[in-house]
Symmetry: C2
Subunit: 342 residues, 2 copies
């Protein structure tokens, strides 16, 4: 019965507005690295944890009913890449790499039914399974292709464009023959969008005093697809700039999650005038597409036709800062936590 | 060359906030009831004019690009039921009844290509072709069935429920085996919804101080389809009460058309949490469905299974008051103007 130390990131108190590092604690628990006789659970060694804006919703008490809530003084939970240490389910064996829901700790005991996918392709960075090959990648793929229905020559606008999902939407849009413009919150990110990620244009929304005018400048003929990651004022500026029969896949509204009173969107009547479809989704709607998605994206990654920018924080100790940093835009690219220092 | 008097309702000035009767004028022009040689136009005698909230959008200067704008000192235009006086197009002959775009005057000269449909069924009231058998009817049918995708047993909420479109959506929902609740702005309308139009429940939104709580009372399990006619605060209260994969066909936002600054909608993040589809449309998206719609609705009208409440103003002189009254909810049921006093 090998009992080992198990470092964890736990929730200290429920979050009301902006999350702070002090809302979380790093604690050192212990865990027995042996399954009880007859258990069908799996013991996982966590390698990479995915740091995502939606985790903020789970840090609130009762607020977002559909999303559940963390238990106080227990580790945060989210998606991650893990290695099987011991398995009570014959579908998984020691040493297997998996991705799916796990906890913010070094080792996790989880029901084997909770594992999302076994990792088959290891010629790409393992951390990619928290990003381009994991939840954000599938979200970008499903959201853009299923809800955006892109057609060659259409105009696409992506907010939070250098983020985990946005950077992929932009590249998928280019692969689809679209014109694509992204917005982000720093010069560094704007440069990344234009020089590395292949966006046609990009701008720093913090430097634009009249977002409506900015959008008119980049889209004199209007926007066909707005991939929505931020909500609030950006959405309000986009609506009058949409084209007839435009689509707005709604992936996130990160600008709104920390506000006690969200910003009001006043231009929704344009949904009628332009006959716009606005549709919310989460990755759960797309898991059935995962094999098809891998078939599409893996060759592009191997050929360098799709790239992925990651921002890797080393060690669980840096987890709280990484999570909090999402909401000030500190991360450049997909925020990952590497649990095991390499 | 029979020149006759032609009474008209003209636009005196562009409207900024609430339209007033004094924004329009009744003038007496003249018209020659004879087509010029070789003309392919038609001369119409207008019988009924349709009084619709969207006309307000055309009374604004440049505001709603997709919708065009009225010319100052010219008659208003909208849908109507008319009789052909003279025709330069062999498809129409003197005496034919037609419905489609016409002008707010006794006689109109219009391009024959502008006629929407010839009226074939006259065993129902002719005024119905401004309502249940015209634009509002087709809007309700297309919006509810194509964008609402109703399933038996689902929960439907309709705002402006006793209006031209809303009263039909409620009845179509009942025919589809749904539970349906409507909101309206007076006790008289609420009684109408419950006692004549077959809604399961109805309430006067003006008497509800907490619309969110009201909706929770009527929809303890949430709303599957919200047929949106009003926008603003009502939409904001509906969003947190939507069910997973709910649909919001957006037909109108009448509460917002007269506001210099529309109300802000703050709960849009629920589009993500509940994976809601919100889709704007106008009747133009549905004209191809008109024959199918007639086949569906005419038998129901004849058997009394679908009823239609009209509010008929007598004479063009009462047109401005009828139009302005839409925005204070003065009309009970579909507002029609009868041009020729009977």
């Amino acid at each position: 019965m090998a009992e080992v130390k198990n470092k964890q990131v736990i929730l200290k108190n429920y979050v009301v507005c902006f999350p702070k590092e002090s809302d979380m604690n790093i604690v050192e628990g212990t865990i027995t690295l042996k399954l009880p006789e007859g258990s069908s659970d799996v013991l996982l060694k966590n390698l990479y944890l995915s740091c995502d804006p939606y985790l903020r919703l789970l840090m609130a008490k009762n607020r977002y009913v559909g999303f559940g809530t963390y238990t106080l003084h227990s580790p945060l939970a989210g998606n991650g890449v893990s290695q099987v240490v011991e398995s009570g389910n014959p579908d998984y064996k020691k040493g297997d790499l998996v991705w799916g829901p796990t906890k913010w700790e070094e080792y996790s005991l989880i029901p084997s039914s909770q594992i999302r996918f076994k990792i088959e392709h290891t010629d790409v960075p393992l951390s990619y399974y928290t990003g381009i090959l994991g939840m954000p990648g599938l979200t970008a793929y499903g959201g853009f292709f299923e809800f955006g229905s892109p057609k060659r020559g259409e105009n696409v606008f992506v907010s939070a464009a250098s983020g985990a999902v946005g950077q992929l939407v932009g590249q998928f849009a280019k692969l689809s023959g679209c014109y694509v413009v992204g917005s982000a919150g720093s010069k560094e990110k704007v440069d990344l969008l234009k020089n590395k990620l292949g966006f046609d244009e990009a701008f720093n929304y913090k430097e634009e005093s009249d977002l409506n005018a900015t959008l008119k400048r980049y889209f004199p003929e209007g926007i066909d697809i707005y991939f929505e990651n931020v909500g609030g004022k950006t959405l309000d500026a986009v609506l009058p700039n949409m084209r007839l029969h435009g689509r707005i896949p709604v992936c996130g509204m990160i600008s709104q999650y920390n506000l006690a009173e969200p910003e009001g969107v006043t231009n929704l009547a344009h949904l009628i005038f332009k006959r716009i479809k606005m549709e919310g989704f989460i990755v759960n709607d797309f898991y059935h597409l995962y094999p098809k998605f891998l078939e599409f994206v893996l060759p592009h990654i191997r050929e360098g036709k799709v790239v992925y920018v990651e921002d890797i924080a080393e060690g669980l100790e840096n987890g709280p800062a990484a999570l909090v940093g999402l909401f000030s835009g500190r991360n450049v690219g997909k925020q990952v936590i590497s649990v095991v220092r390499e």
